[in-house]
């Protein structure tokens, strides 16, 4: 190696800095994405809250059966899928590729079941006459806010399922490592956390009153 190369190498080492907060750059980027996505969901929920608060005849159409029970099952599935994702990350960190891959597939299966239940519920509501711009229960804004918020969340779940399968396959093939599984896990847990706000505000505050 020439003196010039040594000098350039030393100079570039001086210029390069460690990752902020001592965490991998990819992980930091995922956290920044999640913070911005949290702001997106928060904006949607606050816009919904604004509309709900400013509309005197806001409908409360959700019956215990099927909607509330369906929301219970969906919540259980999504929270459980977060646990299976944790097990997958733990297996990946321990270097057990097949176990990690299998638990990622179980997590993806949870996401698929969640999406199927969600779409089934949508179809039921559409069958009752609820659309983006009309519903039989009251103000038309109800349908727009319900379908847009739950739709945005469903889009995130669908993206997460695709990512779980793609990253899992690439991890098993040796292209990705355990850190990549952990970073994907952050996204999946975030999707779970968002649901914890969607359920009470979009579903449970709109439960039909019992007498």
């Amino acid at each position: 190696m020439s003196h010039a190369n040594v000098a350039v190498g030393a100079h570039s080492q001086e210029l390069s800095e460690g990752s902020p907060f001592s965490i991998p750059t990819k992980k930091l980027v995922m956290w920044l994405f999640l913070i911005s996505d949290a702001a997106t969901f928060a904006a949607c929920l606050m816009a919904y809250g604004f509309l709900r608060n400013a509309t005197p005849d806001w409908p409360k159409p959700f019956q215990f059966l099927p909607t509330v029970v369906n929301a219970m099952v969906m919540t259980f599935i999504l929270i459980t899928s977060s646990l299976t994702m944790l097990i997958a990350i733990r297996a990946a960190k321990a270097g057990n590729k097949s176990k990690a891959f299998n638990w990622m597939l179980i997590t993806a299966a949870g996401g698929i079941v969640f999406a199927i239940l969600h779409i089934r519920e949508w179809l039921g509501m559409i069958g009752e006459g609820a659309t983006l711009f009309h519903n039989p229960w009251g103000t038309a804004i109800f349908g727009a806010s319900f379908f847009s918020i739950t739709g945005l969340h469903l889009l995130h779940v669908t993206g997460g399922v695709i990512a779980l399968i793609v990253v899992g396959l690439r991890y098993r093939g040796g292209r990705y490592n355990a850190d990549d599984i952990e970073i994907l896990g952050l996204y999946w847990h975030f999707v779970d956390l968002v649901w914890m706000f969607v359920v009470p505000f979009v579903y449970l505050l709109n439960v039909a009153p019992t007498h």
């Binding site: 965490i23 702001a39 509330v68």
Partner: protein, 104 residues
């Protein structure tokens, strides 16, 4: 502590999982309590924030990152979310007139 270090035991993950499930169940119970809307909203919001806090700290392992990163995420996120709350007075104005006014 960084990503290569210990992430806690599976037992702790299970405890957090059960705690989140119980809190979620409480939200469903509150939905059928005979209380006014504002109280129900406050209880739902408190429980949702508790669930989210447990999830972020222990499922997403923020508790095990460096303290600087934890503070960065918390301050940045909470500031952005708090800043969005400017709109509430207007929604109250539409519904009942000026916020907290004596004449509705």
């Amino acid at each position: 502590m960084n990503s290569t270090q210990d992430r806690g035991s599976l037992a702790r993950d299970l405890i957090v999982y059960v705690a989140i499930l119980v809190i979620a169940a409480l939200q469903f119970v509150i939905a059928y309590q005979h209380i006014d809307g504002a109280q129900m909203f406050a209880r739902m919001l408190a429980l949702a924030m508790l669930e989210a806090g447990l999830g972020v700290l222990f499922f997403m392992h923020l508790w095990m990152e460096t303290r600087g990163f934890l503070i960065f995420v918390a301050v940045f996120t909470l500031f952005v979310l708090a800043a969005m709350n400017y709109l509430w007075p207007d929604s109250f104005r539409i519904l009942v007139g000026a916020p907290f006014s004596s004449y509705h």
